[in-house]
């Protein structure tokens, strides 16, 4: 019975097992739904809203919505794509994302998803927030200009590394990533380059040092293959 369960994603049947989300089932079937805060190694989060799909006429995040029998899911329809592009544009204007000068360019999931979704401009008025760059750690640079508040590092440090190095502070547009240490700086925390949290950032907010241009721009993960075939950057060694 469970073997036969399926729903339709843009008209295509996708099998699923009870308890799977739309995202789980789509990934298992090899169908890409753009996402940023989702990483199959961690509990679904649903905050970035990039994976918004329309399921039986209602918008939900694919990473948190349970798959259901015979559900009709739209992911690549014009209106869902437009919604997704607008959410992406909001993420771009909220932070300071300067792709040409960013050492993560080419292996950045935000950039790759934007290309995939056909986002051509930031559209909205830039917020240009003043955010800190924390270079206190010997092995990692923490550049909050690029943080998209996906909480993957928060989750990895808490659930995998058992260190709780990161937390989200503040609220609303003032939300920001903070570090658990007496000074608030990463160098004074228990964070280590070997932590899982050092290798899950989908953007260039947590950057390992001395690795910046090991792979030249033009030859990086998403320079070689589009994100809908190679998937998350965290699953590759370029993370």
């Amino acid at each position: 019975m469970t073997e036969q369960s399926s729903f339709r994603l843009d008209g295509r049947p996708i099998p699923f097992k009870s308890g799977q989300t739309i995202m789980d089932a789509a990934l298992a079937a090899g169908v890409y739904i753009p996402h940023l805060c989702h990483n199959p190694e961690f509990a679904p989060h649903g905050s970035c809203r990039i994976c918004v799909v329309r399921a039986n006429g209602r918008e939900v995040s694919a990473c948190t919505a349970p798959a259901a029998l015979d559900m009709e899911v739209e992911s690549e329809s014009g209106s869902v794509r437009a919604l997704r592009v607008a959410v992406l544009q909001m993420l771009f204007v909220e932070g300071n994302h300067v792709c040409p000068g960013c050492e993560k360019s080419g292996a950045c999931q935000l950039q790759a998803v934007a290309y995939h979704c056909g986002m051509l401009d930031p559209h909205f008025k830039h917020v240009f927030p003043r955010r800190d760059l924390d270079a206190s750690h010997p092995d990692v640079i923490l550049d909050l200009n690029r943080c998209i508040l996906c909480e993957l590092c928060v989750r990895a440090s808490r659930d995998h590394d058992r260190k709780r190095v990161f937390a989200i502070s503040g609220r609303g547009i003032g939300s920001r990533l903070i570090v658990d240490s007496p000074s608030g700086r990463l160098g004074d925390s228990r964070f280590a380059i070997t932590d899982k949290a050092a290798h899950v950032c989908p953007v260039g907010a947590i950057l390992p040092r001395r690795a910046a241009y090991r792979v030249p721009i033009g030859e990086r993960l998403y320079d070689r293959e589009p994100i809908d075939t190679v998937g998350d950057v965290a699953a590759h060694e370029e993370a």
């Binding site: 905050s47 204007v93 939300s175 658990d180």
Partner: protein, 604 residues
């Protein structure tokens, strides 16, 4: 008065006392932080260290919580910490002039603490006193009916350092203003007959009675109460919890304040009945920080009920029927009225809404099955338990049984509480409260619907105009853009920041509304507002984001002139001022001569 310069020993005493009272579970963190804030007017570093040593929580998690809740601070506030309620209904009654007047008299800027640490004057979201506005909180206590005379008096009391307990008691008087009692609020003698009925008839029969009544949640969403109780009752984990949502934060709502003031017994009886039905032993009242003044009263009622055998072990002598209730305070976060955010806050964390499933009825507070109901829902349940489901159904419509308690404020002769049968028209309520020359009504708060004159025959009911009870009236003298600006600011301030559309979209939307207000907007900006509103409505994580743009979309459709009359250009205007955009470059180059400016006439 709080002590803004505490010694390490004083901080340790407060922390120890709070830990002794509430324990050291991670879920107690917020309550300890509130205790520190109340004692010292801020959360001192040493207090955070002690909490981190005693509780399984990190320093970053504590800082994150302090930064999330508007009533918690890392640096001392003034000895008199004043916050003016800044709902649109406060503004309509001139709160901003009173604010400026007080700031002028005290020599302090809005949002700042005077150098001598005597006083802070600030603004806060609606404090639930719209029927006796303008209102303020001073050291967390509500002061109502502000006017010039009262402001002068307050300034003098602050200047002469009169302790709050010696201030005129009438400043802190909060009236009920019940103008129209209905089904629930008539004949309100608390006799715990509903609770007795539960004991006589059993949980199954009681659940059937609630089901027969067709009771739906009174907090706005309208979920069937009996179904919620049944899901919780049937959840596997036997360790159930009952939570009363008294985080009445929707701008313009104040009926829960009245219910908790005068009918607390019925609310607690309803919670106890729910506990009996679902099998819960532990209950909470999550009380918004703005209602701090009610804590003493509620604790007294709780204590009396314990002594009467209506709470605690073996309720009314029934062996095994054990249930008690604790009060948890909020600390200035509208989002905590959403049930899953409320549960996060009960657990001591930032009030961020959870994903669903799982629903609170199966995995709520500390992953235990949890019923969260509104204050009014519990009161209605107690009345239904006493009088039966058919009694409740005798009023209302097929889909919306019973009555609704409304909080009416704004431009009307008699603001206050009106209990009306569901199915009552907006026009009827306007007539009752003495509203004249009404231009618009905002039903169900900032997140609700903006109604224009042609819609006043619509009815309050889940099937037409669902409402949590807020009913704000605007007459023709009002500029509705003031309302829109107020609500847009409110949602920027109250967005939890978890999801992108609400966090960023809310700010972008507010900035465009300000652009309109400044007379710098174009028709293009109005279509941008619709686009952003649509993204928020469709793609946000929770109800806050889904409903936050309602007032913008409603007014764009129904009151387009408030926007059109202010447009600078039919097509396009830049979002920034060209000359002021050069300010930083001028500062860096040390120039301020004419050539370093863009003359106004060059601007489009």
């Amino acid at each position: 008065m709080p002590n803004p310069n505490p010694s390490a020993a004083q901080i340790a005493t407060v922390v120890e006392r709070s830990l002794a009272r509430l324990g050291s579970g991670p879920d107690t963190v917020l309550q300890h932080l509130i205790a520190l804030q109340q004692a010292f007017s801020f959360v001192p570093e040493r207090g955070i260290e002690l909490l981190v040593q005693s509780i399984d929580v990190t320093r970053a998690q504590v800082l994150a919580a302090v930064d999330f809740y508007a009533f918690l601070h890392l640096s001392p506030r003034g000895g008199y910490d004043i916050r003016f309620s800044d709902n649109i209904t406060d503004r309509m009654l001139g709160n901003r002039q009173l604010l400026d007047d007080l700031c002028g008299r005290l020599g302090v800027e809005v949002g700042e603490t005077r150098a001598d640490q005597r006083v802070t004057v600030d603004l806060t979201s609606c404090t639930g006193m719209c029927d006796q506005a303008p209102a303020m909180l001073i050291n967390g206590l509500a002061v109502t009916r502000l006017d010039e005379e009262r402001i002068r008096h307050i300034a003098a009391l602050v200047d002469t350092r009169v302790p709050l307990q010696h201030w005129p008691q009438e400043f802190f008087a909060v009236s009920n203003n019940v103008h129209r009692p209905g089904l629930l609020l008539r004949d309100l003698e608390a006799r715990d007959a509903g609770l007795q009925s539960l004991l006589d008839r059993g949980a199954d029969a009681m659940l059937a009675e609630i089901e027969r009544a067709g009771l739906r949640g009174r907090g706005g969403a309208g979920f069937t109460t009996a179904l919620k109780w049944r899901f919780c009752r049937e959840a596997e984990n036997p360790d159930k919890v009952v939570v009363c949502n008294a985080d009445e934060g929707e701008p313009g709502t104040f009926k829960d304040r009245v219910l908790l003031t005068s009918y607390a017994d019925l609310v607690l009886e309803g919670m106890t009945i729910c506990a009996g039905v679902v099998g819960a032993r532990e209950g909470f009242i999550y009380l918004r920080g703005e209602y701090l003044y009610l804590v003493e009263h509620l604790e007294a009622v709780l204590q009396r009920r314990r002594e009467q055998g209506l709470l605690g072990r073996s309720i009314r002598g029934r062996a095994g029927f054990d249930f008690d209730i604790r009060i948890h305070l909020g600390a200035g976060a509208y989002i905590c009225g959403e049930e899953s955010a409320l549960i996060e806050s009960l657990e001591g964390k930032r009030g961020v809404t959870r994903k669903r499933p799982p629903f609170p009825v199966t995995e709520g507070y500390l992953e235990r099955p949890t019923v969260v109901n509104n204050v009014e829902t519990f009161l209605a349940a107690a009345r239904i338990a006493e009088h039966g489901g058919y009694w409740f159904r005798s009023e209302g419509t097929d889909k919306s049984a019973g009555s609704k308690i409304l909080s009416v404020s704004g431009d009307c002769a008699r603001p206050g509480i009106y209990e009306v049968p569901f199915g009552t028209s907006v026009a009827q309520v306007l007539g009752d409260c003495g509203a004249e020359d009404t231009q618009a009504v905002q039903v169900s708060g900032a997140a609700g619907a903006t109604l224009a004159e042609g819609e006043f025959e619509r009815v309050l009911a889940f099937e037409d105009l669902p409402t949590a009870g807020s009913f704000m009236v605007f007459d023709r003298s009002r500029d509705l853009l003031d309302m829109v600006r107020n609500f847009a600011d409110f949602f920027v301030h109250e967005s939890c920041g978890f999801c992108t559309p609400c966090r960023v979209g809310g700010k972008l939307l507010r900035d465009l509304i300000e652009k309109v207000a400044l007379g710098r907007a174009s028709a293009h900006d109005l279509s941008e507002m619709r686009l952003i509103a649509d993204v928020m409505r469709c793609a946000s994580h929770c109800g806050l984001g889904h409903t936050a743009p309602n007032h913008v979309l409603n007014t764009l459709d129904k009151f387009p002139h408030i926007y059109m009359d202010r447009l600078r250009s039919a097509e396009y205007m830049p979002a920034f001022d060209l000359d002021s955009a050069l300010a930083e470059a001028r500062a860096l180059t040390g120039r301020d001569d004419a050539a370093a400016h863009i003359p106004a006439e060059v601007e489009p």
